[in-house]
Amino acid sequence: MPRFLKILARNLLKGPSTEAFPFKEAFTPPRYRGKVVMNPNLCVGCGICTHVCPGGAIMMKESEDQNGYYFMVWHNTCAFCGSCRHYCPVKAISLSQDWHNAHYQSEKYRMVEHHFVPYLHCSSCGAHIRRLPPALAARIYSHSSVDPATIIRLCPDCRQLATAKREGEVHESSPAPQQP
């Protein structure tokens, strides 16, 4: 039996290799890098994503009333490289599997992932502070006796004051070192 008949029979059994895509959903690999998604509950506003983005697609801007900041990704200049996800220290940025990017020109500037992240208020002086998620604070202060739950509600200045006070108390209570 000639070989080509075998191939012919196999191809007949296998069916067409063309994807049914426009009429059915296309296969998307599980690790496909699609549109950028950001979780505003995790963002600490460090801005490393804007720094590493090769296309300059990410913008972080303080709001007009200074109550928080806007986070924007414009997907029309995003290269879907995943640098932002890689460098995000709190894993707030992820890339979805959504690749349905084709759009009319009228929607060009609406291809945006847009979030408003509000500032917190310092529990001591009331100043605006960027949010520090409890999980991250617990990681930062894991080797210290400081209570992360109280310190994340303080602004950097008040944090410094609180630390100075606490350290001072520690030194007063411990006996002074002997002079030689």
């Binding site: 426009p22 029309n76 200049t77 290269a79 490289c81 084709a102 060009k108």
Partner: protein
Amino acid sequence: MGFLSKIAVRSPWLYRINAGSCNGCDVELATTAFIPRFDVERLGCKYCGSPRHADIVFITGPLTLRVKDQALRVWNEIPEPKITIAVGVCPVSGGVFRGGHSIEGPVDRYIPVDINVPGCPPRPQAIMEGVILARELWLRRLEKLEAGGGERRAALS
């Protein structure tokens, strides 16, 4: 309208302009057309070699200074009604090359773009979605053109 022009509207012909692309998007365009897995010719589309036969034109690349005049000249050769699809982030916004010293784009500064397919490069299925959008728009424009008679540009706007 004759019989031929009635059946011809099912099949827009495609044409590619490389306006300084890195070739990534061009490879995806070729993939969309020539690999049986995607096969854009199922939708009645076909690549053609001459801009004068084209109905839908793909533009890739950020429109570099070097290629700008040629790209615009070729684009002007394409008869109305044409649909322009910007493929990849470069023609849409300049992409990673935005602000470069030899970048004249984004393309919509010079050419009225109709459809954008961002991606670096977009996957073939996304390009096919763009082609489907373009085909609908093209059919609408053809209808307008028929209704508007000889005044081409006025009917299109």
